[in-house]
Each structure stands twice: as C-alpha cells, then as structure tokens.
C-alpha cells in the first residue's frame, strides 16, 4: 500500500467518523464556505425569513460549494452532478425458443 493509498484510507475513516457525530454536519458546513454560516447567523439575528431569504442562503451555499469543488478533480465534480438513480441491469430473456 502506497502512502497515497494510506492517506485516502485515513481520509475515508475520518470522514466516516465525522458523519457519525451528532448525525453528521450540515452540507453548508461540510463543503460550502464560511459566508454560508455567517450569513445565516446575520439573517437570524435580524429576524429575516421568507422565500427570498431562502433563495439568498441557497445562492451563497451554491457559490461556496462550487468554490470547494473547483479544487477537486473532474471525476469528483462529475460524481456530484444530480442524476436519476440507475435501475439494476437485469437480463430479460425474450423466451423465443429457437
């Protein structure tokens, strides 16, 4: 096992343990940037709520996530793309006995 392999394994173990702490971290804390947290806090203190506030939070989260993903390899970025779950590929005989 190379040191790279060990590093990957260690990272997987660490991520797995963090995900078990109090049910894991929210997405905006785990992979977005600091403004996602500070903006939430600011809006909360100001008592602001509503659809436009949710949109604002979503936008700042998305910008933060994209900044994080920018440093990731293409494969990781591609794997995060939203897609429909693939049904299992099962052989389906046409049963035309010839």
């Amino acid at each position: 096992m190379t040191s790279k392999d060990r590093e990957r394994e260690y990272n997987r173990i660490a991520a797995n343990r963090i995900s078990r702490l109090d049910g894991g971290l929210p997405v905006h804390v785990a992979i977005a940037r600091r403004p996602s947290i500070t903006l939430r806090n600011k809006l909360k203190r100001m008592g602001l709520e509503g659809e436009h506030i949710t949109d604002l939070i979503q936008m700042i989260d998305e910008i933060g996530m994209q900044e994080t993903l920018q440093h990731m390899p293409l494969g990781v970025r591609f794997a995060t793309v939203k897609q429909a779950q693939r049904p299992p590929s099962i052989w389906r005989p046409k049963s035309n006995d010839s």
Binding site: P88, S89, I90, W91, P93, S95, N96, D97
Partner: protein
C-alpha cells in the same frame, strides 16, 4: 429451458462452435470454447448454476458433457433421466484423449486445482490446457466452481475467453480475492444486493462479461423437497467419493505400515 435464458457471453461459450444465437437483435455465431468460472461461497448455489448450464448444453447442443472426477454413484443415481448417455466422469488429466467438443464441469476447483498445488501434475495439465482449449476436441468449454478466484491457479485464467459468474460471497472473505478481480467481485455483490430477496442471494447471479444480473434458474430435479437423495448427490457430489479418494483430493498421502523387525 429457453435458449435465451442466459445472457450472450455465457451462451457464446455453452453452444457449439459456429452455432447461431440471437443477442440484442443480432444473429451471432457461438465461439464454443472458453472458461466459465462460477464463484460464490459455500451453499451459495454455484453447483446448481453449473448444472443449469449443463442442462442448457444437453438441451440445445450435441456436445458431450464431462462431470470431472464425479463419483460413479452420482452418474448412476443422481443425474436427471434426460442426461443419460450424454454424461461421463472422465478425469481432467485425460483431456487429450477426448475427441469431441466436450463441456467439462470441474466442481470445487479450490480442492482439485488449488493455487498452492500449482506444480502438481493435475494443475500443470489444467494450466497448459487453458492455452489450447480451442484445439482439443474441436473446442472445449470448462465450467468450474470455486469459492474465490484467488484459490485457483492463475495460469488457468490467463489464455482463453472467460465469462465469470459471481454469486453471493461472504463479506469477510472478499478481501482475500485476487487484486485483478476484487473490484468486479465487490461490484457484483453490490448489484446482487440491490435485487436479491434470498439471504444467500441465490435468486440472481452476476455475469461480469455482460455486466448484467441474471435470474438464476432452479430446475425441479434439484429441489430437495422432491427427491432429497438425488438433490444431495448433485448438490455435493464429492461427499460420495470413497474415504481414500477424498484423502487423495485434499493431498493426504496414505502412510505405509511399518514392518516390525
């Protein structure tokens, strides 16, 4: 048993060379030679699947079938009626003497052709034969069962066309699989878990070559409730060898009695 019960990669090796079959709407000619490794943990349905493939061969081809080193009692009492006259139990080391495009079933390869015995004459035969399987008898197919590919001598899988089928493998054992197969074996287990209802995942198997899950057939003559003796003869044939033969299979040498002087 319908002709398209198995996916193309398997049918390709089970039919005789040149026999036509339809795959994804196109007519193809079967290769008729290669190796079908059936991998799975004990009681996971490897041998049952092998019998279904043999049944397919008997129903859809004229190829002779060889149940390698099976006890005579299995051939006399265990096999279904429609197999009679088509099946023999020739040992694998006599493959050069077989003149027809036979389909061999080598059950529990981990015992007979173990990677730790790679230099024994039996294993050497197997390894050499893999390279010329298409020449012998006009093209032969070998179906072998094993609990892991790491237990089988690697030479056997180097030269010819393979179509591995994966059944349930105990998660604690998978780590011991060969590094070149472990990814595919793990993927197969993941795919099987997504559809199987049975605790040993015997309702489906995964064909690596086709990248497909396949519903596992289970004929009546293998059903324990119908005829327990016949089902057991077929399910664990090696049980019915003599004690001496069993000892030979696991490499024990019979000790000579010392003569007192």
């Amino acid at each position: 048993m319908n002709r398209d019960i198995f996916p193309p990669a398997i049918v390709n090796l089970l039919l005789s060379e040149g026999q036509r079959f339809t795959a994804y709407g196109q007519t193809r000619q079967a290769l008729g030679t290669g190796i079908l490794p059936l991998i799975g943990s004990a009681r996971g349905g490897k041998t049952s699947l092998a019998y279904c493939m043999i049944d397919f061969v008997i129903q859809h081809t004229t190829r002779p079938v060889i149940l390698e080193s099976f006890p005579d009692v299995v051939l006399k009492e265990g096999i279904p009626e429609h197999w009679r006259g088509r099946v023999t139990n020739t040992p694998f080391n006599q493959i050069a003497g077989v003149e027809e495009p036979a389909v061999w079933l080598v059950d529990d390869t981990g015992t007979s052709f173990n990677s730790r015995d790679s230099m024994t004459s039996n294993s050497k035969t197997l390894a050499k034969v893999a390279g010329v399987l298409s020449h012998f008898g006009g093209g032969m197919t070998v179906i072998f069962t094993s609990q892991l590919l790491s237990g089988v001598d690697v030479s056997f899988m180097r030269y010819t066309t393979l179509a591995p089928c994966i059944r349930f493998i105990d998660p604690d054992v998978i780590g011991q699989e060969r590094k070149e197969w472990i990814g595919q074996v793990k993927n197969a287990q993941h795919e099987l878990r997504s559809v199987c209802q049975d605790s040993m995942m015997r309702d489906y198997f995964y064909s690596i070559k086709d990248n497909l899950l396949v519903k596992a057939p289970f004929p009546d003559w293998l059903n324990k409730d119908k005829d327990p003796r016949k089902a057991d003869l077929l399910s664990r044939p090696m049980r019915y060898h003599t004690a001496q033969k069993k000892a030979e299979m696991i490499g024990q040498k019979m000790t000579k009695k010392k003569v007192k002087e």
